[in-house]
Symmetry: none
Subunit: 260 residues, 2 copies
C-alpha cells in the first residue's frame, strides 16, 4: 500500500512527527503551569487544553513509532517494511480531542451552567459524529467512498459552524470588552484550522486512489501535522489569552467597600 | 485458542485499546488537575477517580502489549503467534477499581463519617466478591461453567443494586437541590454501565464455547473497552460534576455580614 520514499521525503515526515510531538508536550507543560495565571472559573478551559495536547502527544508518539516501523532503508530509498502504518491513531486522537476543543471554547466564554451544558453537549456530540463519519472515508480504497463519507462528515461540521456563528452570537456580545474580540477571533481560528482538515482529507483525490503516490503520502502527513499544531497548541494558547484578558478585567472591578 | 483475524478486525481491537489507554491517562490528568475546583470534602472522591483510571490505564497498556504479542501478520491475515493473550489483566484491574468506584459514590454523597464507612465497607466488599466470582467463569472452557460462575457473581451485584436503590435513598433526599438529580443519575449510570459487563460476559454463549470465533473475540474486547471508558472515565466526570455542583451550592450561601 505505502509507496517507496526518498530519504528526503521520509525524513521530512519523520522530523515533522518529532516536531509535533515536542510541540504537544511543551504545550502540555504550559497549560498545566499557566493555570494559576487565570481566574478559577477559566481553569477548566486550561485543563481541557492540557488534556487535548497530552492525548495528541501520546498519539504522535505512537504515529512516530508506527512510521519508523513501516519503512526500511534499502539502497538509499525507504521501502515499505510490510508492517502497516497505522494512520487510524489520528482518528482515535480526534475522537477524544475534537469534542474537548469545542468544550474549551464554551468553558472560556463562561456561560451560565445550564446554557453551557446544553451548548457543550450539542457541539461536542456533533464534533464526535464528524470524526466518526470521516473515518470510513479515510480508510476507503477508492475515492468515491472517500467523497461520500467526507460529505456525511461535513454535515455535523456545518452544524457546528451554524451554532458557533448564530446561536453563540448573543453570548459573545455579553463578553467584557477586552475578551470580545478574542472570542470572535477564536471562533474564526477554529473555523480556519478545522477547515484545513477537509483539504488534507481531499489530497488523495489528486492521485488515482488505489495506489498512493509518494508526494500524496508526504503531503497528507505534513498537512495533518501543521493542522494539529495550529488547532491544538495555537488554539489552546488563544484560549489562555482570552481567559487571561477576562481575568484582568475582573480584577479591575473594585471590591465593594465594607459597610455598603 | 485465539482465532485468526482480518487486518480490519485486529486493527479495530488494537486501536480501541490505544483509545482506551489514552482516555484513561487523559482522565487521570483531569482528575488530578481538577481537584482544586471542588470543596475539600469532595476531593477524596476525585482522588479515587484518579486512582481508578491510573490503574485501568496501566492494565490497558499491558493488555495492548499482550494483544500485539499474541498475533503475527502473515499473508494479510493476523494469525495467533502462540503467545497467550492475557485477558486476566481485566480481572486484576476490576479487583482494584470496582470497589473504588462504589467508594467514590459514597464519598461524593458526603454522608456522616460513620454511615459512610459502613456503606463503603459493604458495597466495596460486595464489588470485590462480584469480580472474584466472575473470574472462574471467564477462563472456563465450557459455557456451562461460565454460566454457573456468572450466576454466583450476579448475587453480590444484586446486593449492590439493593443497597444503592433502597438504603441509600434517604441519604439522597438530604442532598442539596442541584446535586440531587446528579446523584440519582449517577446511580443509574452505575447500574447501566455495570449492566453492560454481564452482556459482554455472555457473548461467548453465541459461539460453541471451546473455539472462539473472530467476531466473538472482537465483540468481547470492543464491549469491555466501551464499558470501561463509560464506567470509569464517564462515571468519574459525573462524580466531578456532582462535587462541582455541591461546591457551587455551598459558595452561593452568602457569607455572614461583618458585625453580625
Amino acid at each position: 500500500m505505502l509507496p517507496a520514499l526518498s530519504i528526503g521525503e521520509y525524513s521530512l515526515v519523520y522530523n515533522l512527527f518529532s516536531f509535533t510531538f515536542a510541540a504537544m508536550f511543551a504545550s502540555f507543560i504550559f497549560f498545566v503551569l499557566a493555570r494559576p495565571q487565570v481566574a478559577s472559573q477559566y481553569r477548566s478551559a486550561l485543563i481541557m487544553s492540557a488534556l487535548v495536547v497530552a492525548v495528541a502527544g501520546y498519539h504522535y508518539f505512537r504515529i512516530f513509532e508506527s512510521w519508523s516501523g513501516a519503512y526500511m532503508l534499502i539502497d538509499g530509498m525507504y521501502q515499505p517494511s510490510g508492517q502497516p502504518f497505522n494512520d487510524a491513531y489520528r482518528y482515535v486522537d480526534w475522537l477524544l480531542t475534537v469534542p474537548l476543543l469545542v468544550a474549551e471554547l464554551i468553558a472560556v466564554i463562561a456561560l451560565p451552567p445550564k446554557q453551557a451544558g446544553a451548548f457543550t453537549f450539542r457541539l461536542a456530540g456533533a464534533a464526535a459524529l464528524m470524526v466518526i463519519l470521516g473515518y470510513p472515508g479515510e480508510i476507503a480504497a477508492d475515492n468515491g467512498t472517500r467523497a461520500l463519507w467526507g460529505f456525511f462528515s461535513t454535515l455535523p461540521f456545518l452544524y457546528i459552524v451554524y451554532v458557533l456563528f448564530t446561536q453563540l452570537g448573543s453570548a459573545i456580545e455579553r463578553q467584557p470588552e477586552g475578551a470580545r474580540v478574542l472570542v470572535r477571533n477564536i471562533r474564526l481560528l477554529l473555523l480556519a484550522t478545522w477547515g484545513f482538515y477537509p483539504i488534507v482529507y481531499m489530497i488523495p483525490f489528486l492521485g488515482d486512489g488505489a495506489a498512493l503516490s509518494a508526494s500524496v503520502v508526504v503531503a497528507v502527513q505534513v498537512g495533518y501535522c501543521i493542522a494539529d499544531v495550529v488547532a491544538k497548541c495555537g488554539y489552546g494558547v488563544m484560549i489562555y489569552a482570552i481567559a487571561r484578558a477576562k481575568t484582568t478585567d475582573k480584577e479591575l472591578v473594585p471590591a465593594p467597600a465594607v459597610g455598603d
